[in-house]
Symmetry: C2
Subunit: 122 residues, 2 copies
Amino acid sequence: MARIKPSHIEVLLNYKLWLSSVTGEGIIEEDRYELLREIHKKGSLSAAAKELGISYRKAWGDLKKAEQLLGYELTVKKRGGASGGCSTLTDKAIKLLEAYKALHVQMDDAVEKAYRDFKKKL
Amino acid sequence: MARIKPSHIEVLLNYKLWLSSVTGEGIIEEDRYELLREIHKKGSLSAAAKELGISYRKAWGDLKKAEQLLGYELTVKKRGGASGGCSTLTDKAIKLLEAYKALHVQMDDAVEKAYRDFKKKL
DNA sequence: CGGCGATATGACATTTAATACATAACGAAC
DNA sequence: GTTCGTTATGTATTAAATGTCATATCGCCG
């Protein structure tokens, strides 16, 4: 029984994209994008955290850091009331999300093309 | 005396590119590319490590891991002898370096363009 | 007013990754 | 066979990211 011996191991191309402050500190990358998107969908930070399977503590810390680095609020936060409270995205946050999404789509295309070219050269 | 108040904080776009095995483990990224390039230039792993300001231990571990994940040798290693020993790149490694370099140039262009488009949308 | 559910935050524990330290093996040259 | 610089590798220490726990605040509503 013959066994196929691959002439080379498969190599994959990966990339990570993120927005940062001028000091290099990360503001928005994939995870925080997801967090904001989920807040937008659910209207609540705790619900978003639960959906994503991360602790409220971490979600809150991430959100706070992003806002601090950006210098403006990404969410309008309310606490108390019948529902306990809620968090909704600001207009700026929504705009940022849309721009980031478009950025990501564009980069995905570029990476795919670069990967094809790369394999030809290998 | 008036003070200029920026309407928005500057946001930078960053990306990281790397080759991985199918299991997702990283093989080659910027640092390891530099390491291989330096080995090629110096003909020695320890000299390369010194040049890059990292410990020999780390350089050796990085190289070993890359080779293990790729399934083939990136360097020909010799120890002992008058000079103590040396490390030189294999043909496959040289080819890999060239392909990675081209990949990076291509991606840099793509990122620059994506960043311009991104800022317009913001 | 007391309970509920969400935001808000500090303190501590744990897990993971990077780095440092130590030590062995090798082989040509002298 | 001793010296020297390099490859080779295990172990230990540190540092950073992440998770856990506890506790407080808020404000509608029954």
